[in-house]
């Protein structure tokens, strides 16, 4: 090496970045891990089992589809809408609370991933389990279509409503989970708040002049509209807004660790 080479200043500036995954790749990797982890513990099986058991119970006991004298799944969708405030917190409770408690969140967040990739990945993982639960009920429309002429339009609307309603409840559960290190606390807080919003729609008479506002705030109202087969942009916007606001609040909650 010549003297000139030896004394030449090395380039000044930051090191080249290491490899950073794409937002979609990171989000899907986290979502996949989250989804699979439900089935590495009894939680996933318990949630699916309980959900299908309760849906079956609520579906067959009233024989509602027979008493209405026509092939319809409206009673089933109404029954499931009662279950969403219970089942969604059970799915979402551990997303952040458990990781904060065990310390795995630090390992995850110090990887080259953005906070919103972590949030979206975990949310999609939880939604995957909810989707499995909801898809598990698909045998009912198949059965009914065999015994009568089923209008598939409201069925599709019903399933869309369930997915959107469930997505809203799960996003709320994820948000609450990010505020605490105790998943039981996360479950009860999101269950109670979800149940209150659900029940308010059944007791609008007590709200007087504010009834229409309260009604609009209740997920069940929007779900009922979609489940009837009416696709109104306002209902879709409502659910999307709830999901967006809850996930944004989750991002704020996660970001606040930096300043705590």
């Amino acid at each position: 090496m010549s003297d000139q080479e030896a004394t030449a200043p090395k380039p000044v500036g930051p090191q080249p970045r290491g490899s950073i995954g794409t937002p979609v790749g990171n989000t899907l990797a986290i979502a996949r891990r989250e989804f699979v982890s439900y089935f590495s513990s009894p939680l996933g099986y318990i949630v699916i089992g309980m959900f299908l058991l309760l849906v079956g119970f609520l579906f067959f006991i009233p024989f509602a589809f027979l008493t209405l004298g026509k092939a319809t799944l409206q009673p089933m969708f109404n029954s499931i809408s009662w279950l969403l405030p219970l089942i969604s917190p059970a799915i979402a409770m551990r997303t952040f609370a458990e990781e904060s408690r065990t310390g795995t969140l630090e390992m995850l967040i110090t990887q080259p991933v953005r906070d919103w990739e972590v949030i979206l990945g975990k949310y999609l993982g939880a939604m995957g389990l909810l989707a499995v639960c909801i898809l598990g009920t698909f045998s009912y429309p198949v059965i009914i279509s065999r015994v009568g002429e089923l209008d598939w339009g409201p069925v599709a609307g019903g399933y869309l409503g369930l997915l959107l309603g469930g997505a809203a409840y799960v996003s709320f559960g994820v948000m609450v989970s990010s505020f605490t290190k105790d998943q039981i606390t996360a479950f009860f807080v999101s269950f109670i708040v979800g149940a209150v919003f659900f029940l308010m729609n059944k007791a609008l008479i007590f709200f007087g002049g504010a009834a229409s506002v309260i009604e609009y705030l209740c997920p069940d109202y929007h779900f009922s509209n979609i489940a009837r087969g009416v696709l109104d942009a306002r209902n879709i916007i409502y659910f999307c807004s709830v999901i967006f606001v809850c996930l944004l609040a989750t991002a704020r909650s996660l970001g606040s660790r930096r300043w705590s």
Binding site: G13, P14, G18, S19, R258
Partner: protein, 350 residues
């Protein structure tokens, strides 16, 4: 030296939790290829500093750069250069070892066709071959640490930040992890926090000692010991054959030896070390760098005592650590244990 040789740099870094300053205006630089021990008692600010450097939390004041990238402005670039093993590495217990490493590789954007080879490489380095078929909750704590280390190495990072990687490991596991760190430290910049001073002496070229959020010492382990300005002597004197006579060797004779030795070096601290022999074995810690061995020898001649042993050594890192961090009220179990162990070892040497 060019700026890009500084791999980790902090300037006036401060983190305040409520009324407590966890990190108090810390400034230091770590250069390419250095293995730096980050020492301090519990609650001194080591983990907080590391969490800032890995962008897990933000500083209240000051700046920190890793590989030239600001931890606040470019967290993704910083994280992409770092392999991080947090204190008590928490891994997903339900995942298999390979499954976990694949997940880590995916987040590190390692191409799917290269993942297997990378995993094989870190499995080799970290000695995980025997546990590949197990899930993480089936592993001993030592193996979990190794899996944590493997995920930190999977993307071949130029910088490693390891927060107490040997905490709670048994001595054999600790020794193995330290030997891995030495091995991988040949080609990387490593910042290693630990309570175990023996590990620092073995693995680190440089030591940063923090106490109450401030850096109180920075230098090579030997250099720090020299800078402490104290010299330790071990003096073994047998007074039983002296004028006092063998029959008279008793506590009073030992006390006479202690008093005489104290008189040789003013301002020194003298401690009696356990000893099975007839000689009185004393540890004398003297301030300053003067050599007092001739004076001890002359004392023995004058008193007609047998000088059985006379040893001079600079103060150990343990002593420096104790001097610099004493009085902070934090528990220092490991450091205390180590010092006690040293005394026993010296006593048995005598």
């Amino acid at each position: 030296m060019a700026n890009n040789d500084v791999m980790i740099e902090t300037r006036e870094l401060t983190k305040i939790y409520g009324a407590q300053r966890a990190v108090d205006r810390i400034s230091f630089e770590i250069r390419r290829g250095e293995v730096v021990g980050f020492l301090g008692p519990n609650g001194a600010g080591k983990s907080t500093t590391m969490k800032i450097l890995t962008c897990f939390i933000s500083p209240t004041e000051g700046t920190a750069k890793v590989g030239g990238w600001d931890v606040f402005d470019d967290p993704l670039a910083v994280r992409s250069l770092i392999g991080y093993l947090p204190q008590r590495a928490s891994l997903y217990p339900e995942m298999g070892v390979v499954e976990y490493l694949e997940f880590a590789a995916e987040l590190r954007a390692i191409a799917s066709d290269k993942r297997r080879a990378k995993i094989k490489e870190v499995v080799e380095i970290c000695g995980l071959k025997d546990v590949l078929a197990k899930t993480i909750n089936e592993l001993s704590y030592g193996y979990r640490q190794r899996v944590g280390l493997a995920q930190a190495l999977i993307h071949d990072p130029p910088i490693l930040i390891l927060d107490e990687p040997t905490a709670d490991l048994d001595p054999n596991e600790s020794a193995e992890v330290i030997s891995y760190i030495k091995e991988i430290g040949r080609t990387r910049t490593i910042m290693l926090s630990t309570h175990d001073l023996a590990e620092v002496k073995e693995a680190c070229q440089r030591v940063l000692i923090v106490n109450r959020g401030k850096i109180v010492a920075d230098g090579a382990p030997d250099e720090l010991a020299t800078k402490s300005g104290s010299v330790r002597y071990v003096v073994a004197l047998d007074a039983s054959e002296s004028e006092a006579g063998a029959a008279k060797r008793n506590a009073a004779t030992s006390q006479e030896v202690i008093d005489a030795v104290k008189g040789v070096v003013s301002g020194s601290s003298v401690k009696v070390l356990p000893n099975d022999d007839r000689a009185t074995v004393l540890e004398v810690v003297a301030k300053g760098s003067n050599d007092h061995r001739r004076e001890f020898f002359r004392l023995a001649v004058e008193k007609k005592w047998d000088l059985v042993e006379l040893r001079r050594e600079t103060v150990q890192l343990e002593e420096v650590f104790r001097q610099l961090t004493v009085g902070d009220g934090a528990p220092r179990r490991n450091a205390a244990k180590k010092t006690e162990g040293d005394v026993k070892e010296q006593a048995s040497d005598v």
